[in-house]
Symmetry: C2
């Protein structure tokens, strides 16, 4: 069944993303939920059920193993609260399960909230360290996140003639966008040279092409469409489509002879499902703007292709010709993306929805996309294994 | 909206519970899913979506952070797979979200699977150690699981005259039941003396009143009721009701002056929702048998009361008079419960559903409850904070 126009986003909230040392995990939850609930015209106690997305409790502050941590933060009890985790696509998955509960008629007003507090831990206690110590099948061989995605980059270079400049231009663009996003972690204009000369993390990915480690939370309040105006008389934002797919594992990209390291099948599958819901046949023409998962510059470029904005291998054109810049035909990551906003893992998917909502409402300030009517949020996790694609529109 | 008769359990599977050193996390998933899918008459690739319940990847084998781990184990890709965690109520929550997706019309055949592999790690790497090291707010003060539930026991002794014997009788009963459950971890008859004289873990809870640390997995295949016979022509088992509630946090039981340590509000709320769905007004009379969360003997006794089988304070009567024994009016934990089956955290809630299914089908062998028409599964997590109650019936 299509999600189209069945669910409304009646409120959205987002904390500042960054080194939020002065805020606890619970504080972050509270702040994001408060903004979302105030917009929806509800008290916390009006929430019927919630989905909490936190991916790495043990790499963060040892919070977020259970829905209980959201209940404590908001002082909301006696309702069902599920904790969801699906690597970096955690936020999109929390949203999906919240939508299902509304379509199932189990609840009337629900909260989907993503949060991660990662800056309190030292690098020696990082996710990578934890994975390596635990004998992760590929991390200890150098296939960390950067190491894995780097292989996609060199493969793209070899097969399609993409260059280091193309990737670095993506970082330049997203950092420029972030200058107008007061909630972004990094707000600093970077030249092409700044990006290319920044330290190499895993060739060809440089430090400035890698998203920072960040604290943050984001939330959306959802209702069935017919109830939306009861909560938010100005509501215009509806779910137009959604797709979610788990399309590979840790080992498969390395052992599957058909896996060619040029894109993410999960994104293809998830986006085609979302397009089907929304009746989108030409994503390039019909989608007005997108927030995509640019954890590393190469991932944004691959995503242009996987989403069908352009044919496989030609992603570089969209960045070279300024098409995905603010003011271009299909602006991508006008928020600054993960490269500038940072990536509090569980929060990212919902932070993208927050950006879509503010754009569709015409409340995005200086980063407003003109005539924004249909926006796409793309969230990917694991070695490109898990993808969530959501279309919101007015 | 009530779940009553809208969803059918067309297949159920469960591994042996125990020290499964010879099986990997993935092997356990595979075995439980295979039994469930074979019963449902489907291949793994017929599954439209899945929910994976694993509570403690970092206390187990570092698997189960994402739906990807289920995809890899079954070789099933390009579908949505959510990983859910909610402490010891993880299994019940995976089931709930799977049900919602069916009611939402998003999928036709879904899998809810719980798995945990805990025996591979040494006690020094245990959950308790991990929590204490991480500065858990109450664990390091002695309020571990046993330590917390012990307070409920002494409070019950003081307020209602319950005794150590009453609690130990619960363990004697459940170990006796397990003699007829080939999948239980511990199958050994224990005398009252054996239980009472076993080492004290946290007064008054003895070792034999504490569930063991166990590996295992369990799975159910679900469809909407109208589709059930297409998959399983003999299918009779329907969801009659379900409730889920998060009703307190880690700190609250210790700081809320109204919290009196005599029961679990989460169980009360969740069970009343489930009863409402099913139209149950007198649970003692209408429910034929139950699987409840006896992680420690006291929890089973409190649950008799919280579920409304008997008034608060009188739970001891049900055990003293043999009412919850096999052959009694309302047999509880004929599987052997957590005390004998063990408690692979994410799997337990689904293992209970497996037991309900086999009983309702009349396929429970020597532990068959006569005339089993309506069964209850009760799963609780955190400091009694999170509860799931499911009613299955024919």
């Amino acid at each position: 069944m299509s999600y189209k126009d069945k669910i409304a986003v009646v409120g959205a909230g987002c904390t500042n993303f960054g080194e939020n040392f002065e805020q606890s995990y619970q504080d972050l939850i509270y702040q994001a939920a408060l903004e979302a609930c105030q917009e929806a015209g509800i008290e916390f106690t009006d929430i019927n059920a919630a989905w909490l997305g936190t991916a790495f409790p043990d790499a963060g502050v040892y919070k977020g193993r259970s829905g209980m941590d959201l209940a404590e933060a908001l002082g909301v009890f006696d309702i069902p609260i599920t904790r969801v985790s699906n690597y970096c696509a955690t936020g999109g998955d929390a949203f999906r399960n919240a939508c299902n509960s509304l379509l199932a008629g189990q609840h009337d007003v629900v909260l989907a909230l993503g949060v991660e507090k990662l800056r309190d831990r030292t690098p020696t206690e990082s996710i990578v360290k934890m994975m390596v110590d635990a004998g992760h099948p590929i991390y200890q061989k150098g296939f960390t996140a950067a190491g894995t995605f780097a292989v996609f980059a060199t493969r793209h270079f070899n097969k399609f003639g993409t260059t280091r400049e193309d990737l670095s231009l993506i970082s330049v663009k997203n950092h420029k966008h972030a200058l107008h996003n007061p909630k972004a972690h990094i707000r600093k204009e970077l030249s092409l040279e700044d990006v290319m000369r920044s330290p190499m993390v895993a060739y060809p990915i440089t430090l400035m092409e890698s998203c920072p480690t960040t604290d943050g939370a984001a939330a959306v309040v959802l209702t069935r469409s017919e109830d939306a105006k009861k909560y938010n008389p100005d509501n215009k934002v509806m779910v137009k489509g959604h797709g979610f797919s788990v399309s590979t594992g840790w080992d498969l990209p390395f052992y599957d002879p058909h896996f060619d390291f040029t894109g993410f099948r999960a994104t293809e599958i998830a986006s085609r499902t979302a397009y089907k819901h929304a009746g989108v046949s030409d994503p390039y023409k019909e989608i007005d703007f997108a927030e995509v998962h640019d954890c590393f510059s190469i991932v944004e470029l691959l995503t242009y292709e996987d989403l069908g904005f352009i044919e496989k291998g030609s992603g570089k054109k969209l960045i070279q010709e300024g098409i995905t810049e603010h003011g271009g035909d299909i602006p991508v990551n006008v928020s600054g993306g993960l490269l500038s906003c940072g990536h509090p893992v569980g929060a990212t998917g919902i932070r993208m929805l927050y950006e879509l909502v503010r754009q569709l409402q015409g409340h995005a300030g200086k980063r407003q996309v003109i005539d924004a009517k249909l926006g796409l949020a793309h969230n990917i996790g694991g070695p490109g294994a898990v993808a969530s694609v959501t279309l919101l529109g007015i």
